[in-house]
């Protein structure tokens, strides 16, 4: 059952990391050298993508789930792009971005770009777009742009953003949902400004049709501003809700790639020589949100005891068939914000867990009221974790409820002590820490901040240079672990199955694919 590919990425240079990422997918991924000798891109063909989720909306501002991104980058270009394997920011519609002072960010835009509806892309369009992010009633990205005070067009192709306080995470936030620039004309012409089902961007593909829970079709933007791109004529995104079914369509030759898969499909697909099954590092991780403001978990020793009681190697091996990473960091090994020295801060040590419980005055153990989800994968996860914690005397009393209800019970009504949930997948580590541990974060059930957190948070936002910022992130990681602010379980993996004829396809750390350079070898 074990896949034997939980190979760790060496944390050295970015180059090494990229090579490591490729190797991570197992022997089926072509090594970098072989890829160089691979055939040159050919133009044409329709890519058939199988994906499990119907997007909530194709308007980047009103969508809400990460799988929405499976289609967004085909239609929309970004202000600021990122490298899928390192999240290093890269220019796109913004040629450059500079903090002229800690609260002023200046963007220089590329010229000569047009939206799919013929509108010119310029500073006006960017200002309109960012103001819509901030003010549109249905905007779900208000928190991403919360630090923005004012957006101005300071030239036909120059935009100046003033922030309320220093925010080093803003460029990364601008590479999240707000990055997708929507045509102002399409918004102005739409009823109530609702472009959920009528997406117009500057991206390499134009929207053709969306049949809910069935198909989203896009076709080549022949007027695309980046020369020679895209290579594909069209993309058909087939929505197939069940993961096994989605993976099987690739094996049967009905799809070229299946996205957002789970470990079972990878294990099965790896028996089939005609397909490539990849599991690469992901920023999604599984954890328990803890209420550390009240109840038994307000005692740090009990939280630490829980962390010592988990055997994360086993969790990774059993729950994701060894395709993830069994450590207690919130980022994969090799990611720039991950401190390799503390990623194994907690190991499996039952004696230590019991000793901490005794020190906390509960030598006979403690009962933790737990919320979990009712689907099979969540049930399995919950069973293994319960069993591991029980060996230290920590008894979970689990109530399974659908995700929204679990969040309402635990986060709004403050019932229970912990909630098992996957989370993460955000472009900047400051944002990741902020959304989970800040006092006003929705996911922080107790709504308190432990002493020392705010200082580190502020430092992470006001430190702009990469190396000092990395140091701050290392300290933050240590802070979260020492205080056992949550119960990290394992890092997930980005899992896809594809035909070997598909080239340059990268699902990446964030599970947000780009299709500009993807091409299909003709059969």
């Amino acid at each position: 059952m074990t896949m034997g590919s939980s190979k760790r990425l060496p944390n050295i240079t970015r180059r090494a990391m990229l090579a490591g990422t490729a190797a991570f997918g197992g022997s089926l991924v072509l090594p970098a050298q072989a890829r160089a000798q691979a055939p040159q891109p050919t133009t044409g063909g329709t890519l058939r993508v199988a994906m499990p989720y119907n997007p909530a909306a194709l308007d980047p501002l009103t969508g809400r789930n990460n799988p929405d991104f499976n289609t967004l980058f085909a239609i929309y270009d970004a202000l600021i792009d990122f490298d899928p394997n390192t999240l290093e920011l890269k220019p796109m519609l913004a040629k450059s971005w500079t903090f002229t002072d800690p609260t002023t960010l200046v963007l220089e835009l590329v010229e000569g770009v047009e939206f799919h509806d013929g509108e010119p892309f310029n500073a006006e369009a960017v200002v309109f777009h960012l103001e819509r992010c901030m003010n549109y009633a249905r905007s779900n990205v208000k928190s991403d742009v919360a630090s923005i005070d004012k957006v101005e067009a300071t030239g036909p192709y120059q935009v100046t953003i003033r922030t309320k306080h220093p925010d080093a995470s803003l460029p990364a936030a601008l590479s999240d949902r707000p990055r997708c620039i929507v045509s102002p004309k399409s918004v102005k012409e739409a009823a109530d400004g609702n472009v959920d089902r009528n997406p117009v961007g500057t991206g390499p593909f134009k929207f053709v049709e969306w049949r809910d829970n069935d198909l989203i079709k896009v076709e080549k933007n022949t007027n695309y501003w980046q020369d020679g791109q895209p290579y594909l004529n069209a993309i058909e995104f087939r929505i197939i809700n069940e993961l096994n079914t989605a993976a099987r369509t690739v094996m049967a030759g009905q799809s070229d790639v299946a996205l957002n898969l789970a470990a079972q499909q990878i294990a099965i697909a790896r028996r089939d020589e005609n397909v490539v099954a990849e599991a690469t590092p992901s920023l999604i991780y599984y954890t328990s949100f803890l209420n550390y403001a009240e109840g038994p978990l307000s005692d740090v020793r009990i939280r630490q005891a829980m962390n010592w009681a988990l055997n994360r190697e086993d969790l990774n091996r059993v729950l994701v068939l060894g395709l993830g990473q069994g450590h207690c960091s919130m980022f994969p090994t090799g990611f720039w914000a991950n401190d390799p020295e503390t990623e194994n801060y907690y190991t499996h040590d039952l004696d230590r867990a019991k000793k901490l419980l005794a020190e906390a005055g509960v030598p006979n153990g403690v009962e933790i009221q737990t919320w979990s989800w009712p689907d099979q994968a969540a049930v399995q996860r919950q069973e293994v974790i319960s069993s591991q914690l029980a060996q230290a005397g920590i008894r979970l009393k689990v109530t399974p409820v659908p995700p929204a209800q679990a969040m309402q019970n635990f986060l709004d009504e403050k019932k229970g002590h912990q909630l098992l949930s996957p989370t993460g997948g955000l472009p900047d580590p400051s944002i990741t820490y902020d959304r989970q541990f800040s006092g006003n974060a929705y996911r922080n059930a107790g709504k308190i901040e432990l002493p020392g957190f705010r200082e580190l948070m502020d430092a992470s936002l006001s430190t702009f240079e990469p190396e000092p910022r990395q140091k701050v992130m290392y300290r933050m990681q240590r802070f979260v672990l020492e205080n056992a602010l949550h119960l990290p379980q394992y890092m997930s993996a980005s899992m896809t199955v594809r035909t070997p004829r598909l080239h340059e396809f990268v699902f990446g750390l964030l599970n947000r694919p780009k299709f500009h350079k993807v091409w299909l070898e003709q059969a």
Binding site: N244, D314, V318, E383
Partner: protein, 300 residues
């Protein structure tokens, strides 16, 4: 779920017969003459014993995980193999019997508790009450019962007891409808009219005359419903709405086995057969009781 095909034509048209008097009913003679009933009862007795004695006869604790022996095929150590967390399938099957039986009886019990009184009352009172309640019953019956159960489970919270309340809720209108029809038949029978003439109280009428006479087809229906409830429990647990882990249920075991069907296909046979045999036994027993209570119904 609710087997709406379970009509009881003989009882609804013919005047009701009273139960065979206990002193005249010879249990062992019945079993000797009806092999089907004997086998079903023997199986169900064994199942009840297995459910009660599971802690003593199960080879392993049902929730003991062994993360090094996942999805093992049957062996000397594990007669039916192990599941995706290395737990012994046989032990979980035995413990699952307890949940299966509890679920079946609970659901039917709830159906009877709601359905029988409502049926008798609306049949007895008649008039606009009957008219209104019959529409309500039609409304609920028009809705596929499992869909109703899913909605009720959602409203009450996920878990075995709530799921079975949901199933019982879906049974109730079926039973109410049967009871109503029976009550009408009995009510119109001469002796009730006679009793009414003597000024017997309504309550007395219901308890003494209508209920005992009308309950016969309900006994048969209830036995058959046990099978339906068992299947419903399995289905809801398969959808993760029933028995909650780590407790074992046959439907839940099937759901997990299906998750790994390409890796360990053998895991799905034992729980499925357990459901099949138990449902079969309840059905067979129901048919036998029907023949026993109403000799005009032919076997088969």
């Amino acid at each position: 779920m609710t087997d709406t095909h379970m009509t009881i034509p003989a009882a609804t048209t013919a005047p009701a017969r009273s139960l065979p008097a206990p002193n005249r009913f010879r249990f062992w003679a019945w079993l000797r003459s009806d092999k089907r009933a004997a086998i079903s009862l023997a199986y169900l007795t064994l199942l009840v014993l297995a459910a009660l004695l599971a802690p003593y006869i199960a080879p392993y604790p049902p929730n003991e995980q062994n993360l090094l022996d996942l999805l093992m095929p049957p062996s000397q150590a594990h007669w039916l193999g192990t599941d995706d967390l290395g737990r012994d399938t046989l032990s979980r099957l035995l413990y699952g019997a307890h949940n299966a039986l509890y679920a079946a009886f609970l659901a039917v019990g709830i159906g009877v508790t709601i359905g029988v009184p409502v049926g008798v009352l609306i049949g007895f009172v008649g008039g606009w009450v009957d008219e209104l309640m019959s529409r309500v019953i039609d409304g609920i019956l028009a809705f596929p019962p499992l869909v109703l159960a899913v909605a009720v489970t959602g409203a009450l919270g996920i878990g075995l007891t709530n799921a079975m309340i949901a199933v019982g809720f879906a049974f109730a209108p079926v039973l109410a409808r049967t009871m109503r029809a029976q009550t009408l038949v009995v009510k119109n029978a001469l002796y009730v009219e006679a009793a009414q003439g003597f000024g017997a109280s309504r309550m007395h009428l219901i308890l003494r005359h209508i209920l005992p006479n009308a309950i016969q087809p309900v006994i048969v229906e209830v036995t058959l419903m046990l099978a339906v409830a068992l299947l419903a429990e399995a289905g809801l647990s398969f959808l993760s709405l029933g028995v909650q882990p780590p407790e074992s249920s046959w439907g839940g075991m099937l759901a997990r086995a299906y998750h790994y069907v390409e890796v360990a296909p053998a895991q799905m046979y034992a729980p499925g057969l357990a459901i099949l045999f138990t449902a079969l036994a309840f059905n067979a027993l129901g048919e036998s009781i029907r023949v026993l209570l109403d000799p005009t119904v032919k076997r088969g």
